[in-house]
């Protein structure tokens, strides 16, 4: 790694829908520390929203402290909404998924696999709230598009989860319809808040405070430049595995482990957006490459980890039922239902693989460097990766001056 190339961003932007802010010191994105994975340039915001049209919104729930009382709190959770073509965009995006380790939930994936398309919001939340979030998202969609469910094949919300039981009253299922609504309606382009926000609020990564992270890359070279943006909800990994630019940071910083309880290594959700015109089969290959980026941060994708990736392209919009466009009339002749698509030659796809890998790696590390130390239910406490120690270790290994 060398010095950061793109313009560094200030600390995370305004949190939307939040009920209280996470306590803590000034945190920074990875590039502000002078660390930049890979060689490709980032997009303007170094975020998934660098892919034009993609909107992200968070609803962050932080309230209460002390002893766990199921149904009451403490609450350290939330929901993050990713709208592939935004609220104003039309049509469905092509999409595909890849399950690196299947111990997780992502609803709506069967439909994505079958049809190769996405016509609903993506929502990332906690494990126990999946059902309510799914239902809330569906309610929002139907409200927006009456008649959406009049016949079969209506688009299913894609709801992914990771486990935040260590800090959060998980069983209490505190993410409600109004939070889902706030996350979706508050979704926008521009800078994306990271760390203890949205679905990432209560997450733990490599034994440090984890959560939401994002990054992007742009391809260069002859021909058109494309953007790949990644957003992760990082809740995975054991401390000894954390690796930054090949440096065994986790082993060098064995202290500040989660307090008062054993943390089960859980999962990571990875969402990849691109404006490159890729078909579902190509998008699946992009989704697979997130595993390489994840591996660069040291992950071994343990048996209990639900490591799931979803990739979509904003390039081709398909007419069809979604929560925005008018319902396409049913016609009996297949010829009248043909869409013309652009597709990138496979010969040109490799730079997109590299972009995916670099952006995934950086998104995970951004989650770690922006998250703040958090105390949750029963006084359980998870420490943020201390940035001064990170810099110290990177200097020790010659990665920083």
């Amino acid at each position: 790694m060398g010095l950061a190339g793109a313009a560094a961003l200030a600390a995370p932007g305004r949190l939307r829908g939040e009920e209280g802010s996470a306590a803590g010191e000034r945190r920074m994105r990875l590039r502000e520390l002078g660390l930049a994975p890979g060689t490709m340039p980032t997009g303007r915001f170094n975020a998934i929203t660098d892919v034009a049209g993609v909107e992200v919104g968070h609803a962050t729930l932080i309230r209460g402290e002390g002893r766990l009382v199921v149904g009451q709190g403490p609450v350290r959770t939330g929901v993050t909404a990713i709208l592939p073509v935004g609220k104003a965009g039309e049509g469905q995006a092509l999409a595909a998924d890849f399950a690196l380790n299947g111990n997780g939930e992502m609803t709506g994936i069967g439909q994505v696999r079958r049809t190769g398309r996405l016509g609903a919001p993506i929502l990332l939340t906690n494990t126990s709230s999946v059902g309510m979030v799914y239902d809330a998202a569906l309610g929002w969609m139907v409200e927006r598009r009456p008649g959406l469910m009049r016949s079969g094949g209506w688009p299913e919300p894609v709801v992914g989860e990771t486990w935040d039981d260590f800090l959060n009253d998980l069983e209490g299922r505190h993410v409600r319809a109004e939070h889902v609504r706030a996350a979706i309606e508050g979704a926008s382009g521009g800078p994306v808040a990271e760390g203890c926000v949205g679905g990432g609020t209560g997450m733990i990564c490599y034994g440090f405070k984890g959560g939401t992270g994002t990054s992007s890359r742009m391809t260069e070279g002859k021909g058109k430049s494309y953007t790949v943006g990644v957003l992760v909800q990082a809740n995975h990994g054991g401390r000894p595995h954390l690796t930054v630019a090949g440096v065994p940071v986790g082993r060098e910083v064995p202290e500040l482990t989660p307090e008062r309880g054993e943390v089960k290594s859980k999962s990571i959700l990875i969402v990849v957006a691109t404006d490159a015109p890729l078909l579902p089969s190509q998008l699946q290959r992009l989704a697979k490459r997130t595993a390489i980026g994840l591996g660069r941060t040291g992950a071994i994708s343990t048996h209990s980890s639900g490591d799931l990736a979803l990739a979509f392209s904003t390039a081709n919009r398909l007419p069809g039922r979604d929560f925005l466009s008018p319902v396409a009339p049913m016609r009996s002749r297949p010829a009248s239902l043909v869409t013309e698509l652009e597709v990138l030659d496979d010969e040109a796809i490799t730079p997109l693989y590299q972009a995916t890998i670099e952006a995934t790696e950086e998104a995970v590390l951004n989650a770690l460097t922006t998250a703040t130390t958090m105390t949750g239910r029963d006084g359980n406490r998870v420490h943020a990766l201390p940035l001064d120690r990170l810099v110290e270790v990177m200097r020790k290994y010659g990665r920083l001056k």
């Binding site: 002859k222 069809g320 239902l337 652009e342 597709v343």
Partner: protein, 340 residues
């Protein structure tokens, strides 16, 4: 030799294509090579998706495989990229290596660099026809037979005991290669089936279980438990959609009795002749895609054509010493009894 339709039995509701064959899909050609040396009763059948002279291109391909199993080469590219570029060759399984080698030679002829869009990797489907053949002896089948097979590519599709159909056994009867097609609006879906496998009591024709009414002995010996088919269409489908088209052909085969509890291997490959991806050196190309609402009639056609193609294969086959054939007379008599 009368085909199923000539007997007044019409599977499904769509009309067949002009020749009621997979070659009704424009550009598709089929070739057979019969092999009889050394007592073998086997052969090769190739389905070519386009004229070789048309140049470097890849088409989308999908597959349905029982238990997700393989039974073919070219699997990684077909699965991961959803594309292929060469002929699909159905060969006796023991000959797969040498047939593969023959396709490598064929590919080098198309392009010295042997890239993905000029016949690499070879797609060879290994068919078990060991009921009528000495499997070890089948390893003699190879490059020369493949050359013959590809030289014979054409629009006419011979059915029955020809090509890979020669050694097949289905329902304890002589199996064979069969074909059928359906018109769906502006599009055509065509099937070629290597009618193999199945239990006598399972043989069904348009929903009538006729197997038990066939007054024919069941042969001794270990019978094949596999069935293979190739579907072609000019509808612009992507690879994921072709996976589903292939699955519907499997449903048609199931309706005919080819897929039952005993089946060990079932494979259907489905390709579209549209959307040829030309090696564009990194360019963006245009493809077309049928929308969700347009798929069900195509799926229905795939199932109908597969069922009919399998039965056509049986009807066209002639009896050999160990295996009686399903003649038109026997079929009609059994149908009559089944309907009573």
């Amino acid at each position: 030799m009368p085909r199923l339709r000539d007997l007044g039995i019409e599977i499904g509701r769509f009309e067949p294509g002009r020749a009621n064959a997979i070659t009704d899909v424009e550009g598709v050609r089929v070739g057979h090579a019969d092999v009889s040396e050394g007592g073998l009763l086997t052969g090769l059948t190739a389905v070519a998706p386009y004229q070789e002279e048309a140049g470097k291109r890849r088409l989308f391909i999908g597959r349905w495989a029982l238990d997700g199993g393989a039974g073919m080469s070219g699997l990684a590219v077909a699965e991961d990229f959803g594309t292929f570029s060469g002929p699909v060759v159905l060969a006796p399984a023991p000959a797969a290596g040498r047939v593969y080698n023959g396709l490598i030679t064929y590919g080098y002829r198309r392009d010295r660099g042997l890239p993905i869009d000029a016949g690499w990797p070879p797609v060879v489907v290994g068919v078990d026809d060991g009921f009528l053949n000495d499997r070890e002896a089948e390893r003699r089948v190879g490059e020369a037979e493949l050359e013959r097979c590809l030289a014979g590519l054409g629009r006419q599709v011979a059915e029955g005991g020809v090509g890979v159909g020669r050694g097949l056994c289905a329902f304890g009867l002589r199996g064979g290669v069969g074909t059928a097609s359906r018109r769906v609006g502006d599009y055509t879906v065509g099937l070629l089936v290597a009618a193999n496998g199945g239990e006598r009591r399972g043989l069904s024709v348009d929903g009538f279980r006729v197997g038990r009414f066939l007054d024919l002995p069941e042969p001794e010996g270990e019978r094949p438990r596999s069935v293979f088919a190739v579907a072609a269409t000019d509808a612009p489908l992507l690879s994921g959609q072709l996976d589903r088209l292939a699955g519907r052909a499997a449903l048609g085969l199931a309706r005919g009795g080819f897929l039952d509890g005993h089946v060990r291997e079932g494979l259907v490959l489905a390709f579209s002749t549209r959307n040829a991806l030309v090696d564009g050196g990194g360019a963006v190309q245009r493809v077309r895609m049928v929308g969700e609402e347009g798929l069900p009639p195509l799926f229905e056609a795939s199932a109908e054509a597969a069922e009919e193609a399998g039965l056509n294969g049986l009807l066209a086959a002639e009896s050999v010493e160990r295996l009686p054939a399903l003649t038109p007379e026997r079929l009609l008599a059994a149908m009559k009894k089944a309907k009573e």
